[in-house]
Subunit: 256 residues, 2 copies
Amino acid sequence: MTAKNDPSRSLALLWGSHTTPGRSGLTVRSIVTAATAIADAEGLAAATMRRVADRLGVGTMSLYTHVPGRAELTELMIDIAYGELYADVDEPAKATGGWREGLRLVGERNWDLYQRHPWLLQATGARPVLGPHATLKYEAELRPLDGIGLTDVQMDSVLTLVLTHVEGVARIQADLARTEDGSGMSDQEWWLSTAPALEKVMDASRFPTASRVGQAAGEHHQASVDPAHAFRFGLARILDGVERLIEEKSPEAGEG
Amino acid sequence: MTAKNDPSRSLALLWGSHTTPGRSGLTVRSIVTAATAIADAEGLAAATMRRVADRLGVGTMSLYTHVPGRAELTELMIDIAYGELYADVDEPAKATGGWREGLRLVGERNWDLYQRHPWLLQATGARPVLGPHATLKYEAELRPLDGIGLTDVQMDSVLTLVLTHVEGVARIQADLARTEDGSGMSDQEWWLSTAPALEKVMDASRFPTASRVGQAAGEHHQASVDPAHAFRFGLARILDGVERLIEEKSPEAGEG
DNA sequence: GGCGGTACCGTACCTTGTACGGTACGAGGT
DNA sequence: ACCTCGTACCGTACAAGGTACGGTACCGCC
């Protein structure tokens, strides 16, 4: 019994105590911390069971005493990381500037978190991690949207939109960083070394808009992509779109 | 020489002919087609070199005669898939309804493509695939935004925003589908089997907004997440936000 | 008819998660 | 003080995947 997918097994692990040590001082907490440190520095793939165990000075299989498997370890890493987001559950709702600044704070904090822990992007999957910090995150992020005229379903949709945007742009950023230090070549270097070969093989006159816009964007960002700019530009558009949705619902508010 | 990263190696492969056969009839095209078929059905991870070779009735290592490695095979798969997007390069620009409907078409077509080829989400990385179809895609998707008052940089930013949104939501959808038929459990089943255990371990009164909104959203979508709804809701907000950006730039256009 | 290039492929190595079965530590009872 | 038993710890082994290496055999050309 206690099958691998048993939901209560995972939940008990997530919500339980992580600090009761075994004989050698090994705890769930120390395992998660070690795995996170490796993943921060070298990506989720580098945080193998062997690497984590080595870092802790224990045998690989010892980890399995505290954690059912790699999947569950990853869930723990995610939930613990979410704990870094907000000082308290009301932080976004207390932002001066109303729902708009609150939602912007949510975006920024998630963005910052992805900068610190890019592996989160490779780790989060279909099913939400129902740990204590994940739950608190959802609560904290919904509060600034409460009582401003949106339905409950719309509140959820708006938050999902913002979080999806942050995640998407952060993923581009993380892929970029990973590729750059995997290949030892910056985005700009890569482009400079690729462009001449590309010109040889493609006929730019067939792609006039792409050539013009691509060139302009490349020069403006000094790179082929600029995730930080995409984040801010996109967030601004999205907040404007949400504002319009709210205005539509309370037309009498006018433009006061 | 002809190092693994040699950009002109990749480019020549992408832009070259894929239909000149070897002794056993093996071609780049047939390899890509086989790999795509497997990936469509079972995910990118299932399209291993061994599986692809088996499907073609050749030895595993024979693939390496035509394709330098798995990474390059994946690039080819991506570029070929992009070829399915538009009937011709002016299709989005010709949409009735101006830039807004053109951009919506771009969103919908990319969404549909991700439905057909979910592995694209696992395959696309930091650096764009500079193949012929990828280039044509960029050209086609920029055209509806040309000449409506946006700067070149803004055109690129708006397109990036829409594509990032589609990708993000499609990724949620794909993760969900993969998890569902990996575990043989639907999202709803998973939730029904998890919720009771969750209630035991978490105190709902600490998370009033999350509980209320989560419940409302869950009931409305009949699932814990609804990617199709997120796609449409988000796209509508984004298009509204872009509209406001365009209006700001030509204030005299007023609200006529 | 012979020769050279290249398409094809069998074998082997390395890496990762984890099943399995053993070992040994330490707490509790006598 | 000693024995016992639960469980923390871990060594070994296996399967799967990418691909390096070195061979084999086919085809076109002289």
